[in-house]
Symmetry: D2
Subunit: 148 residues, 4 copies
């Protein structure tokens, strides 16, 4: 695949690249799904994904796992915009509306609070402005190479 | 793809097929990822998935979204083994260990409690017997065709 | 007890009383703990509580149950400021800092999203501006007298 | 108050006292509410509490904060039955049935999984065998005197 020459690997004209951009460039899972990094700076991030036919569950709706995955990617971007390497310790998601193949989902992540190595991030997933899911991520800062 | 003639569409020799099996047959997301339905009966289910190179995040670990997705599939199977159509209202996941491409993950879901249309399910995700993640799903029974 | 003649039962001079104020007047648990309703209107609420010596756990810190309880009271107030009777279906709390007897805690609840009868509320608990805990409540609107 | 000479401070005849028993002896919050430590050993604990008129919320039901508090006490007991001092990092609770003044609630906590300093505990709260709430606690082992 020729992903290496995509737009995301070129220096963007506007906001500065952060550690989150470097991480996203290596995030094969997010990129293989066509997830787009819209922005990542200052403890916040926005990512988008179009639901494909291969993301639909047995009820004919977007599999909750993919809604979670998009939110989790935005969460990871937000908590790695600066400072130490940070991983997800856990997350909670509430599903509010279902979506279907063809829909474009947007996840907006923001840092809510932190203390020591622990952080709490909110991620709202929307489709055309309607809230699809609310995700709350719990982060843990780690030293490079150390287990969480 | 010739998924329609796969082993999962043949009547299994042992335990009876449930609504969960029918649902899984239609679950394109889970099947496109190679998730295997090991068992689904009596409010419980087991599913397996091998982590591929396209499931790895920017930290070089399995993307948490895929760990969640596998657990969510097992959860959906468990809560649709009988009775009304049931969907996920939400879920919480705690990540305990990281995994990598090539690892085989197993998710075991069991009903924990229910009241009215609400249910609580536990899903443990393991790799070679080590717990990778603990997932707790909140289910909501719906009538066919009705929104959650 | 002479609670019936307390300040909270007099019409406040400023903002209008809502269903939340009526509910709080009947909330023996919150009032027995000295919880103060600061405001409740438009899907938001603020409540305060001073930690007493009888709220301290075996580690010498405020018992997490009381931090949760204060947040839960603010949550209940926020989701009953208007419309149908609404109850808590569940909640998640992350503890970020410990507090001690004598500290005054403030919980600020706001509606985050809703769909149908389900709602998601955020409650931040602070002490002197520092975030002590982040609470996320899941609400369910019910008809009076009906089970959740 | 003459709590110091209560039955809980006498060596029980049967199972050995653990660090959890010592902790409970200092847990003013739990004891002031009349919470009874039924057992605490091997990563598990059982605690009971009778709902009083001062634990009822504005809907005339047991305040969710007290249901959480009882579960949290059982959780704290279970994760301090042995080893390092362990505190709650967070918890999720799903409310399944309401209770009222006079009801006796029982919380049964068990360790579900752990990795490094992190643990996951399940607590089921029942009344006469019916599940009232399912609580999942996230624990973090700390060194004595250190913040979580």
């Amino acid at each position: 695949m020729a992903r290496g020459d995509g737009a995301l690997d070129r220096p963007p004209p506007g906001p500065p690249r952060t550690a989150a951009h470097e991480m996203f460039a290596r995030d094969r899972a997010s990129r293989a799904l066509g997830i787009e990094l819209v922005s990542a700076a200052g403890g916040a991030a926005v990512a988008r994904m179009r639901v494909t036919a291969d993301m639909v569950n047995g009820h004919g709706m977007t599999h909750g796992g993919y809604v979670f995955l998009l939110a989790d990617t935005a969460f990871a971007l937000a908590c790695n915009t600066a400072g130490p390497v940070t991983v997800a310790a856990g997350a909670d998601i509430t599903f509010l509306r279902s979506t279907a193949a063809g829909d474009e989902l947007e996840a907006r992540a923001t840092e809510r609070a932190s203390s020591g190595r622990s952080g709490v991030y909110d991620v709202t997933v929307t489709r055309d402005g309607d809230v699809i899911a609310e995700f709350r991520g719990r982060s843990r800062a780690i030293s490079p190479g150390r287990p969480a």
